[in-house]
């Protein structure tokens, strides 16, 4: 409909993204019905995990895409336009540790450095650098909450929407680092060559 190829993130942002696209007149029925299929030529939609969206959009394999601000901050070197805060998928990047006496503070005081596990090593490193503290970043791929419970680290940097998972694992938020939400991004060349289509879509999404 729009003549654009749109990278849509599967996972937490998936349903909200499809709802918005429906609302601006892009039919996503086929996408909703197919859990396994990845490419929908009719609708101009490609689906992928959120952290892959910047890769496809930067290379021009998709013209525009939707992904979280957390992903964009972690991949800040990418040459992309960030066009619109879509307002959904709101969550916060936090520093958390085991409830009670803060093991982060003790490690920092007595060992001079705290160990922190995260899926967002660059956001975490930037935060500790900006606040003048030494931290050893441990990158993990799976459930970050496990790391402080086993003694691997003293704390974690992770995204939380409601805080439920943190609480269930006996962790408390020590600092809020940055608020995140879904963003509409565009490839720099498509932003020029398909200006009218992209602007029209942005206008309609903004009006929702």
């Amino acid at each position: 409909v729009s003549g654009l190829t749109i990278a849509v993130p599967r996972g937490a942002l998936f349903k909200d993204t499809l709802d918005r696209l429906d609302a601006v007149g892009i039919d996503t029925a086929e996408v909703r019905e197919n859990d396994r299929k990845l490419l929908f030529r009719e609708a101009g939609i490609v689906t992928m995990r959120p952290s892959d969206v910047p890769t496809y959009v930067e290379a021009g394999a998709a013209d525009i895409g939707v992904t979280g601000k957390d992903v964009l901050m972690e991949q800040s070197e990418r040459e992309l336009y960030e066009l619109l805060d879509l307002g959904y998928g709101r969550c916060t990047m936090v520093l958390a540790s085991v409830a009670g006496d803060d093991p982060l503070a003790e490690a920092l005081r007595r060992l001079g450095v705290m160990r922190v596990a995260t899926k967002y090593p660059r956001i975490a490193a930037r935060h500790f650098e900006a606040t003048g503290r030494q931290a050893e970043i441990v990158e993990v791929k799976g459930s970050v909450e496990l790391a402080p419970l086993t003694g691997l680290v003293e704390g974690i940097v992770d995204l939380t929407a409601t805080g439920t998972t943190l609480a269930e694992n006996g962790l408390v938020v020590r600092e809020e680092i940055v608020a995140c939400s879904a963003r509409l991004i565009a490839n720099p060349v498509a932003h020029k060559l398909k200006a009218a289509a992209i602007d029209a879509l942005v206008e309609r999404l903004r009006a929702l």
Binding site: E77, L84, V189, A195
Partner: protein
Amino acid sequence: MIHPIPSGTRDVLPDEMRELRAISGAALRVFQEAGYGEVATPALEYEATLARGDVAGAPGGAGLYRLFDEQGEVLVLRSDMTVPIARLVATRFATAEPPLRLCYLAHAYRGVRPQRGQPREFLQAGIELVGAPAPQGTVEALTVLCDVLDAAGLEGYRIGLGDAGLYRALLDGLAIAQEPRARILHELATRDFVGLEREVAALGLDAELATTLTRVPQLRGGPEVLAELDGRAGEAAEGLRGVHALLPARVAERIIFDLGLLRSLGYYTGAIFEVYDPALGVPIGGGGRYDELLGRFGRPLPAVGFALTVERLHIALMGEERR
């Protein structure tokens, strides 16, 4: 046996070399016919020479390749050809009557994150037109640029045309203080319009002025977008209108005015431009006016130039073939 080569570099084998040579050959022929003489400069320059060109502000600036010579002087591998040619003009053509028309086919080096079409060693084909002021000089450069792309056989390309001083002029006109100004320019440089909107809102301007600041860098299209400036940033808009009025029709039809266009190099002063093709997700090349750079080398002359990345042009040509 596998003997590795440094990240971001590569070997070129005969099939690819033949195609690259065809492109660079076409470019050099067009340059020559337009009266541009080919020059070569050393791949190594003194760091101080590149520093005069203010290339340190570029994303490649942090990634300049530096080494020491036997005297302990800091040398750098050139990150583009414009600054070395500015040095060359000031030194070798100190008294020559302008305009000077020079062209080159040369490798440049930037310590970027290697990816498709963005190696750390890349081949540039370009021109520098020294001593030709705006708008005529800019028009000549844009015309030669289109001639090269046509000669190479690229079909779907467009040229984004903007002005390096336009947004700063807008900020000057509204007397924005130094600190918020730096934050605004940072959001613009990182192409973050969400952040731009946030920083502009924080200024507390009246709604119409705030809209101008967020809207102007998103304006791109035909010459009608210049009218939306409402007389603001008048000098930049006049400059762009002046260029547009003189462009031959075959060049004018390729132009997209882009009031948000930014080039990462620090030496640009007026009109700036970038080449896009639907077959490639990154610009194929670009250039612009650098009316103050020659002055920093002691020969104040207005100048304009462009460089095409030959490897990217090659990828775009192959992409167009496949469509």
